[in-house]
Every structure is written in structure tokens, then in C-alpha cells.
């Protein structure tokens, strides 16, 4: 029983962190209709940078997201303005190829600059846990989860309480109508891409403590994030949260009762099973425009 509760709690903690990582992907897809394959590479880029920052200055990796998030906001903004925007009028498949290319470039740069080896930031609390009754809560997971909740909460406030946020939601629901009421499509898209990248700024910082990583880890991460987003329904933020929790739980439960090696596979099997029953994902809606 304790083991089960332990697995549940760990699953929720990991699910919250997954939710943060996937939120950027789904935000970008919602507004730009682009599947950003480079989102995983963003995470690894930030994790590597955070690791370097922690090694050289001793700044706590998770707190370092206060630095990495604004940095990634800027990187995302420039990337959109200089590169992504050039293909905004091309078929969707081209954006997949472009962001795939960007992911490779980031991987290649990390390989050349930082070297192809496993890393992991190990601050003092790395192997400590909080104890609640019989249940152990690893401190790193708890801090990561808290950071994720704070950022997701902030994102929610930005999206619902600010003009910029309303512009993003309007554009994601109906781009042409949003343009008609004076919402600049390019500015909104740049903002969404920048926000999505900034969320990877936090996600990557958390990743650097929780998981060992190396430049090519981004394939593993992007397929996980994409799985979450497909499960929840592309472009739906509540969907991403639910998908992240479901998959976080599935993964931890498999790791607890099955074996660690197969837990990633269970992840993909859950996705396939959901797609079999509900092809548009849990929260995905079939829109009027789909039929036109």
C-alpha cells in the first residue's frame, strides 16, 4: 500500500514537471500551428547551460531558471523573427522539417562545445528526501514540482488576465477573426513562441537536476512531450496538463511494479491505446474549420 501511494505521489510530482515542459509545446502549436520538434533540444540546451552555471558559480540549478527563462524568451523571440517566420506561409510539413533541423543544429553545437557525455547537476539536496509518514518525497522532485506549478500558474494568469494573453488565446482559437479585430498575427506568434521557449527555460533547469542528460537526449524528451500533447489533444493547455499527469503516473507505476527499462515503452503504448479510442486526443475538439 505504502509503495502504491509512494508511486502515486511520485507520478503526480513528475506529471507536474512534464506538464510544464509540454505547456510550451502546446502553446506554440495552438497559436502557430507548428509542431516544434526543437522543444526537446531547447530543454537539453537549457539543462546544459544550467549545469555549467551551477558548476562555475554554484547557483542553485532550479533557481537558475530565473536567469534561463528570460534568456530563452529572448532566444525564442529572435528565432521566430529571424527563422521560423520565413516559412509561415508554407505547408505544415515544412515547419516540422525546419524545427527538426534546428533541433539537430542545437544537438550538434552542444556536441562540439560541451562534448558528448552524460551530465547531471547534483546540488546538496540532490539525494535527500522529505519524509511524510512512510512516504519519501525526494527534495529535487518536490522543488521541481513547485517551480513547475508556479510557472504554470503564472502562465495561466498571463493568458487570462493580460491583453497579450488574450491576444494569444484569440489567435489560437481563430487566427483570421483575431487579425480582423486588430491583433497583429506576427507579434502574437513571436510572443507565443517566446513564451513557449521560456517555459523550456524553466523545464530545462529542472531537468538538469532530475535526469542525467547528454546532447542526443533531446529525441527522448521530444517524443515524450509530443506524446503528452497528442494524448491531451494538440493545442489544448488543459489537455497537456491531463496528459502529463496520466503519463507521469503510468511511467512511475510501471517503474515501481514492472521494470525501469520498459517504462518508456509503456508511455508510448498508452498513447497508442488512447489514439485507438479517441484519435483527436483527450481534449482535442473537432472544429468546424476542419470540414469547411
Amino acid at each position: 500500500m505504502t509503495q502504491f501511494v509512494q508511486a502515486l505521489v511520485l507520478g503526480v510530482l513528475i506529471g507536474g514537471i512534464y506538464a510544464l515542459m509540454a505547456s510550451g509545446l502546446t502553446l506554440i502549436f495552438g497559436v502557430l500551428r507548428i509542431v516544434n520538434i526543437a522543444q526537446g533540444a531547447f530543454l537539453i540546451l537549457v539543462a546544459t547551460f544550467t549545469w555549467w552555471l551551477w558548476r562555475t558559480t554554484g547557483i542553485d540549478p532550479i533557481l537558475a531558471s530565473a536567469i534561463t527563462a528570460p534568456l530563452m524568451f529572448g532566444v525564442g523571440y529572435l528565432l521566430y523573427r529571424l527563422v521560423i517566420r520565413r516559412i509561415s506561409d508554407r505547408p505544415a510539413s515544412m515547419s516540422v522539417l525546419l524545427t527538426f533541423g534546428l533541433a539537430l543544429v542545437i544537438e550538434g553545437v552542444l556536441n562540439v562545445v560541451a562534448g558528448n557525455k552524460f551530465r547531471s547537476a547534483t546540488p546538496a539536496y540532490f539525494e535527500q528526501s522529505f519524509r511524510v509518514g512512510d512516504i519519501l518525497l525526494p527534495k529535487a522532485q518536490v522543488y521541481g514540482f513547485l517551480a513547475a506549478v508556479v510557472v504554470l500558474g503564472g502562465l495561466y494568469v498571463v493568458l487570462t488576465r493580460t491583453w497579450a494573453g488574450r491576444a494569444i488565446r484569440a489567435t489560437s482559437q481563430n487566427p483570421s477573426a483575431a487579425a480582423l479585430v486588430g491583433i497583429g498575427a506576427t507579434a502574437t506568434a513571436a510572443l507565443a513562441f517566446a513564451l513557449g521557449s521560456a517555459s523550456a527555460g524553466v523545464g530545462g533547469a529542472i531537468l538538469s537536476v532530475l535526469y542525467p542528460f547528454f546532447p542526443a537526449s533531446h529525441y527522448d524528451w521530444i517524443s515524450r512531450l509530443l506524446g503528452i500533447v497528442v494524448l491531451g489533444g494538440m493545442g489544448s493547455l488543459p489537455g497537456a496538463l491531463t496528459g502529463a499527469l496520466v503519463l507521469g503516473l503510468a511511467e512511475t507505476l510501471t517503474a515501481t511494479y514492472g521494470s525501469l527499462q520498459w517504462s518508456t515503452l509503456v508511455f508510448y503504448l498508452v498513447i497508442m491505446a488512447v489514439l485507438l479510442v479517441r484519435p483527436q486526443g483527450l481534449f482535442g475538439a473537432r472544429l468546424r474549420e476542419d470540414a469547411a
Binding site: F29, V35, I37, V83, R86, I87, R90, P91, A92, S93, M94, V96, L97, L98, F100, G101, L102, A103, L104, V105, I106, E107, G108, V109, N111, V112, N116, P215, A216, Y219, D220, I222, S223, L226, G227, V230, M234, Q261, W262, T264, L265, Y268, I271, M272, L275, L276, P279, Q280, R286, L287, R288, D290, A291, A292
Partner: protein
């Protein structure tokens, strides 16, 4: 000589290159290195050419296609390991494994449109690696499998492998060329250009996509079996490396995806660059950077790829007069056989809509609508903008699912059937804004529809033969036979409407739904359109027309149904509709009536 002229310039060049590659090991036999480089080029070309079927023709990008090479390798190697059979003889089974996996995964993720596919292709590649690493008893886990050395004398070096891969490459290209010629290939391009439209003209998009994915996997799987024997060793990390997929995507993109020879040309170039980067660029780490940069640059600055870009330049330098073919055919043309499938039926309702509803969130677009279309009639559906006419069309043709109510077509309940099945039953439609496949020729557009779900129809020749002849015939019916070889996007709007009508007629429809046939069409063409509708109606085709041009409706149609706020408020012969107060009210509102009576 005339044979070569008919063959075309591209095929001629390909033939010469092929001959050169066949004789190369004979004239330069003692050079293992260039042979190995050429061999790698063939292997990549096999993969890129296969990838092109699902991702080039059908437009569904696969980022994990090298998985099939690994699956083929493992299949052959595992059989060899456990039975002692030479892996070369069981290499075709590698192709079978690839096809089985493609069909299974495809039937899960290819049922819908959109992005799930690209995501699953990456996930599949990673999953395959996990399975190969952890299923020790079958695959030897991360230690990998070591195979026997080739059974032939070392004097032959790798020359047998050279010819094996060259043969597989030729087969792959021929296979791809054959697909492009069939209606299956035309259907795949239709899916790439506009999937919803493809479904409306009878293309079973799910089956087409799954078959395309399977077709794109077979030869890679076979090549994988041969490749395992060539390498004599395989392990999970090498067999399911994502860099292999990167090279495939890059090759097809550089050469020109969607073309026959583009992926092969691209594969030769990318393979050489890859070899150069390995020899001069140091580690495989920098290769990732180089390939990534090339991919970004190609997407940004050469999105069509080398071959199509070169073709465009060539065309500009050597302009060809547009051939207005088939003039004679058009002039000698009698009444076309539009419907030859069903015998003449008793009069009675062909379409019955009963209590059909559809809501989008809080908006009720169609609200318990009833409608009957009698066989042989030209029935009109009019109503103010936003009254739900087009949504009703979408419900009848299956582009949208109904929330409630029944739709009966020809005595058969159809509201739960897929769009293409309704097309096969004889239900066709045109769109308010024409949705032709703009990059296809007019003729290809008209050949594309699938009047039934049979495999024989699917793999019928689309370039010549009965289907193409019938398409030319229908183009003559709408008076556009002369434009058969033009790109559909180059035609005027009204002409496009006529082509779309010819396209629907290819389904041999019993009932055609026309969504604003007169919208945006100039008056002279309008006459042609109404003539065609009347002519077809005499031949037994029933029409349901949504139209805002009321004089045209009152002249052409009988009976007329009037829609307002999602349901039918009046129906009857045009003369009565013209006088109906309810109709005037719906169109012009209370103010007008108040003013009129004041």
C-alpha cells in the same frame, strides 16, 4: 529510336547512369573503397525513394524511417542466428516485418489527419531501440548479433552486395514510378494537397495512407536484411540510429520530394557529403551539426529541392507551347455516359434528411432539419447567410458527424458512414469555394476520384487506359477538354467550378450536391454551367443546389426548400416560394414588412 523518344529525357539519363553503375565494378574491380561509397549511396537512395511514397506523394512526414532498416536487419539476423540460414536468403522477410509494423502502427495513427503521425514515427524508432536492447533472449540485447562472413570467396570482395543493393534500388524506383502512375498515386497526391476534399471524392484516405506507409517500408526492410549480412554485426544503437532517419529526410528534400528521381539524386549527394564529413570533418558529432545546418538551409532557401528547381529553370529557358489537345475529340463528342452503373430506378425520394441537428459549442447550426430530394429532380436549398445550408451539406456528405437525426440515401441509412463510402454509394458534392488540387493537372484532378472501394479501381492506370479516357470524356462534357494538361490552379474561377463538377461526375454519382455553383462566375460561363446541369439531369443525375442567385434558382430548380435558423421553413414549387410571406420575412426581416405595411 521512337522508343527512346517516348521514354523522355529524364528516364533516358537515368538509364545511362544505371548502365554506368552496372559496368563500374567490371571496369574498376579492385577498388573496395569507391565501391563501398557507391554502396552506401544505393542504400540511402533505396530509403529516400521509399520514404518519398508516404512523405513525398502523400505528404505525411516520417522522421523515423530508418527504423525499417533496423527491423529488416534484425529480422534477417535473428532468423540466421536461431536457424543457421544465410541472412541473404531471408532478407525479403525483413521487408515483411517492416510492412507488418507499418500497417499496425499506421492503422492506429493514420486514421485522422494531422500531426500524430510524425510524432509516432519518432516514438516508434525509439521504442524499437528499447525493445532491441531489452529483449535479450531474442536479440542478444545491447551486445548485438554477430553474423558469419559472406560465403563467397574474398576475391569477389563486396561486389555481390554492390549488385544486390543496385538491384533493390532499381526495383524501388520502378515500384515508386508504378505507384505514381496509378489512381492510388493520384489519390496520395490528392491527400497531400487537400485531405478533406480527397475524402469527398471517394478516396478512402485511411486505407490509402496506411497502404502508402506500408509501401514505403517494404524495400527498406529487404535492404536491411542484406545490410545486416554486409556489416556482419548489428546492435540496437547502430540499427535504430536517428541519424539514419535524418539522412533519409535530407536526401529526399535536397533532391526534391514528391518527384521520382529527386530522392535518388538527393541521396547520392547527401551520401557523398556524409562520407566527406566523416573523412574530413572528424567525429560523427560534427556530422549532426552539418546535417542540421543543411536541413535548415534547404527548408528555408530550396524548399522544392534540386530537381524541381532545375526543371523550373529549364522550362523558363525552353518554353513549350501549351498543347490544346483533344480538339477533335471534343468536337466529335456525343452525349457522355455519365451514369452507367445503376439501372433507371422508380421515382421516389433519393435523399431523406430527418430531424438532423448539429451544434458547434453554443451555436446551433442545424436544428432538427427535414429535407427530401426526389429522384430526377433539381432541388434547390436557399436561405440567408448563416442559416446552416453548407453545414447541412457537410452533414449529408460526412465531412462533419451529425449530433442527432437520420440521413437516408437510396433507402440506406448513411449518417454514420465515412465520407468516401457515401461517395462510393453515389453521393457527390462541389464546394462553395472550389477545392481543386491546384498543383495537379486538370486531367489528374478528374482522374483522382474513386467511384468504388475496389482494389482494382485503386490500382488502375491513371495516365492512360479506361480511367483516363473517361476523365477526358467528362472534361469534354463540361467543355474543358482543351485544358486537360494545364495546372488546375491556372484556370479561371468559373472554369475551376466546371472542373470540380467533372471531378464529381467521375464518381458516377446518383445525387450531386452543388454549393453555390453560380457564386463568383461570370454570366457567359454561368450559362454553360446551367446547360451542363440540365443536360446531366436529363441523363438521370439528381441535383441538390445551394444558391444565392434567386432568379437562377427559380428558373432552374423545382422544388425549392427555404432554410432559416438551421431548419426548413418552407418548401414547394418556385412560384409559391416567391410569394411566401415566411420566406420574405426570413430574407428581409420584420422591418421590411412593417415598412411595407405602413
Amino acid at each position: 529510336m521512337s522508343f527512346f523518344r517516348r521514354l523522355g529525357r529524364q528516364h533516358l539519363i537515368a538509364l545511362v547512369v544505371l548502365l554506368g553503375l552496372i559496368v563500374y565494378p567490371v571496369i574498376n574491380p579492385w577498388q573496395p573503397y569507391p565501391q563501398a561509397v557507391l554502396l552506401a549511396m544505393f542504400l540511402l537512395a533505396i530509403q529516400a525513394s521509399s520514404w518519398n511514397i508516404i512523405s513525398g506523394y502523400a505528404g505525411y512526414i516520417s522522421l523515423g524511417h530508418s527504423m525499417f532498416l533496423g527491423l529488416g536487419s534484425y529480422t534477417a539476423a535473428i532468423i540466421a542466428l536461431h536457424t543457421g540460414v544465410n541472412p541473404l536468403w531471408v532478407a525479403p522477410l525483413g521487408g515483411v516485418t517492416a510492412v507488418v509494423v507499418a500497417v499496425l502502427a499506421g492503422s492506429v495513427v493514420l486514421r485522422t489527419r494531422g500531426h500524430a503521425f510524425v510524432i509516432i514515427t519518432i516514438a516508434l524508432l525509439l521504442s524499437a531501440q528499447i525493445v532491441a536492447t531489452n529483449w535479450d533472449s531474442l536479440t542478444n540485447g545491447s551486445d548485438g548479433i554477430t553474423l558469419d562472413l559472406p560465403f563467397w570467396s574474398s576475391d569477389f570482395q563486396n561486389i555481390p552486395f554492390y549488385y544486390a543493393f543496385l538491384l533493390l534500388l532499381v526495383l524501388t524506383v520502378l515500384f515508386s514510378a508504378w505507384i505514381a502512375r496509378t489512381k492510388f498515386g493520384t489519390g496520395l497526391i490528392a491527400i497531400r494537397e487537400d485531405e478533406g476534399k480527397a475524402a469527398s471524392i471517394g478516396v478512402n484516405t485511411t486505407i490509402f495512407k496506411i497502404l502508402a506507409y506500408a509501401a514505403s517500408s517494404f524495400f527498406i526492410g529487404v535492404a536491411g536484411g542484406v545490410y545486416a549480412y554486409y556489416q556482419t554485426f548489428l546492435n540496437p544503437v547502430g540499427a535504430f540510429a536517428i541519424l539514419g532517419s535524418v539522412l533519409i529526410v535530407l536526401a529526399a528534400l535536397v533532391g526534391g520530394r514528391g518527384t521520382l528521381y529527386g530522392p535518388v539524386i538527393g541521396a547520392f549527394i547527401v551520401s557523398l557529403v556524409n562520407e566527406g564529413a566523416t573523412v574530413y570533418g572528424g567525429s560523427s558529432q560534427s556530422r549532426v551539426l552539418i546535417m542540421g545546418l543543411i536541413l535548415v538551409l534547404v527548408v528555408l532557401f530550396l524548399p522544392a529541392g534540386l530537381l524541381p528547381t532545375a526543371e523550373t529553370v529549364w522550362r523558363r529557358r525552353h518554353p513549350v507551347q501549351v498543347e490544346f489537345t483533344d480538339q477533335a475529340g471534343a468536337l466529335s463528342h456525343d452525349t457522355a455516359v455519365v451514369r452507367d452503373r445503376l439501372p433507371v430506378k422508380e421515382p421516389g425520394p433519393v435523399l431523406e434528411v430527418r430531424g438532423v441537428s448539429k451544434r458547434f459549442g453554443g451555436l446551433i447550426a442545424v436544428d432538427g432539419a427535414d429535407l427530401t430530394v426526389e429522384r430526377g429532380s433539381i432541388t434547390a436549398l436557399i436561405g440567408p447567410n448563416g442559416s446552416g445550408k453548407t453545414t447541412l451539406f457537410n452533414l449529408v456528405t460526412g465531412a462533419l458527424p451529425v449530433d442527432a437525426g437520420t440521413i437516408t440515401f437510396d433507402g440506406r441509412r448513411i449518417e454514420r458512414l465515412r465520407p468516401w463510402t457515401r461517395g462510393h454509394l453515389g453521393l457527390g458534392r462541389t464546394f462553395q469555394v472550389t477545392r481543386l488540387f491546384k498543383d495537379m493537372t486538370v486531367l489528374q484532378n478528374v482522374v483522382a476520384p474513386q467511384p468504388d472501394g475496389k482494389l482494382r479501381t485503386m490500382f488502375a492506370d491513371a495516365v492512360s487506359g479506361a480511367e483516363a479516357a473517361r476523365a477526358r470524356d467528362l472534361l469534354d462534357v463540361v467543355g474543358l477538354g482543351a485544358f486537360a494538361q494545364q495546372k488546375a490552379g491556372a484556370l479561371s474561377y468559373g472554369q475551376q467550378k466546371l472542373v470540380e463538377l467533372a471531378q464529381v461526375l467521375m464518381l458516377a454519382p446518383e445525387l450531386v450536391l452543388l454549393d453555390e455553383p453560380a457564386g463568383g462566375v461570370n454570366p457567359s460561363l454561368l450559362g454553360r454551367i446551367t446547360d451542363v446541369i440540365r443536360e446531366l439531369n436529363r441523363d438521370g443525375v439528381t441535383f441538390l443546389v445551394v444558391e444565392h442567385n434567386i432568379p437562377l434558382v427559380l428558373d432552374l430548380c423545382d422544388p425549392v426548400y427555404v432554410f432559416a435558423r438551421g431548419k426548413c421553413i418552407a418548401s414547394g414549387p418556385p412560384a409559391r416560394i416567391r410569394e411566401d410571406p415566411l420566406v420574405l420575412d426570413a430574407y428581409l426581416g420584420d422591418d421590411w414588412r412593417a415598412d411595407a405595411h405602413a
